[in-house]
Subunit: 314 residues, 2 copies
């Protein structure tokens, strides 16, 4: 199967390498000629335009940043193959792709470094790769094709709706960046805090060092989920403030923090034994909601794993 | 100089080792006979009671947890040597010690492991060691004695008031534990979040795995600073929520996050050149407020370092 990869940064470049290593016929393209040259020098077939890249390809993976996605999509007019993407927000991309043969994707892979020079064939081994499913579309056969392709690269394919994805990443990535930012900003008004800060501060604020325009684009791209989850988490902090104001703050706080502590100690969860999953939208979405994933696609039958139930209880 | 160390856990045990290595005459005590035996087997002189330990010692370091401190202090009645402690809250301990010859201390040293078995002579090398000073007491000579003792172990001695200390540790340690807890607790209601969570979640919630009774005791012991700083930081998050609701959320957010990002990238600060500090309470407190520390005590003259000014500006 011939696969086109558009955008050859860390994710696109790694995908080109991983797919080629798995025996697929791949062709790449990058709007930056220097990046294209790097990939060509690494032995890959590089096309001269988006249209030229996708011509004759069964699947096109668009691995460009969210702000550039609309213009690449316009260049795909007339292409009748299957399209997927790798951006970190799925609701807005689903809406952008309405009417096209499209399955939204998001590999949860990253490194401190970026660009084709940092790409590696093994980047997706063991990583969670979200592939979006909805009760009404996309085509389940298309979803299964991509699930088979990416599990073949060692990824754990997670079936979720776009909305569920956007809520989850707001919770575990986007809003935590805002938490880290307000903690880090304390250094400005209190230099003493910087002199006393140690390991818990270092780890808790690490992501605050991310370039501000990247955090802002991430949060802005997933606006409604970030806005909702930020307000919800502010409410949780206000509840802890209320606990501090109770008659027995230490006892009450011990009780309230017990659940969070047990949850964190059980993460990441150990999965149960492999199980057979029906190629059915609702069965797949139930697997994703339970924190599970697909490890293998055998025609219309899938193999999946899910965490032990109740594992987070104290 | 003979020094008594009461409580031989990670901090007390490491202090016993470090002081002995630096050539001091040390004697230890622990309420747990098994811990005392461990220390004796490691070659240390171990006394049978608090009174026996401090008899003949010029300095007594009380290295017991905060809840046990009052009963150890009662056992010090009649002792006229200099007393210091190592607990993580300084205002309440200052009040508890009123009328005694006491300088509050807090070495910012820790490890994942605890107890005498985990102790090591090198634990304090390079670590910040808070020693409290107030405009009206403790005695500056006593403060200088301890500053000399602990800089001799390689610690960076930070002069601050008890109130300044308690605010700073609420900002960089206690409240961040509560932030981590509300982020980690999300795993309970959304197993999907646990499947997608990666590095930013791992680091941002690491301290949520701490035993809940320890976090509760820490926050309860520093109640007023934790309560105030938690409310202030909730206000900062609400301000970010307001920025999200602005007409240009991405642009505005980029601007607001820029300061935090620059601050975090410049942390930990590189210090300027060594400078001479007068043995004067206000000069020392000004050094601490600027994020600086004492590296050496030479009689009534001190050597200190402080971070470059404005280093946190974007």
């Amino acid at each position: 199967m011939r696969i086109a990869v558009i955008g050859l940064g860390l994710i696109g470049g790694s995908l080109l390498r991983a797919l080629a290593k798995a025996g697929h016929d791949v062709v790449g393209f990058d709007a930056d000629p220097a990046t294209g040259e790097l990939a060509r020098a690494a032995g890959f077939e590089i096309a001269g335009s988006v249209r030229e890249t996708v011509a004759g390809s069964a699947v096109a993976v668009v691995a460009v940043p969210l702000p550039i996605l609309p213009q690449v999509v316009a260049d795909l007019d007339g292409y009748d193959g299957l399209v997927t993407d790798v951006t970190s927000v799925k609701g807005p991309v689903r809406d952008l792709m309405a009417g096209r043969r499209f399955v939204g994707g998001h590999p949860m892979a990253g490194k401190e470094t970026s660009g084709f020079a940092a790409s590696e064939a093994g980047l997706f081994e063991g990583c969670a790769w979200v592939l979006c499913l909805e009760p009404h579309g996309p085509d389940l056969g298309d979803w299964l094709s991509l699930a088979g392709l990416f599990t073949g690269l060692g990824a754990r394919v997670v079936p979720v709706t776009a909305t569920e994805h956007d809520t989850a990443v707001a919770q575990i990535s986007h809003v935590p960046h805002l938490f880290a930012a307000v903690l880090a900003e304390q250094l400005l008004s209190n230099p003493l805090a910087g002199a006393l800060a140690a390991g818990s501060f270092r780890d808790g604020t690490r992501v605050a060092a991310t370039r501000p325009e990247l955090i802002a684009a991430m949060c802005g791209g997933n606006w409604s989920a970030v806005h909702r989850e930020l307000h919800r988490l502010i409410g949780e902090l206000e509840q802890l403030a209320g606990v501090l104001e109770s008659r027995d703050p230490v006892g009450e706080l011990t009780f309230h923090l017990g659940r969070a502590s047990a949850a964190r100690r059980s993460w990441p969860a150990t999965a149960g034994r492999p199980e057979t999953i029906a190629a059915d939208v609702q069965a797949l979405l139930a697997l994703g909601r339970a924190g599970g994933w697909v490890t293998e696609v055998k025609g219309r039958e899938l193999v999946g794993k899910r965490p032990e139930p109740d594992r987070y209880l104290p």
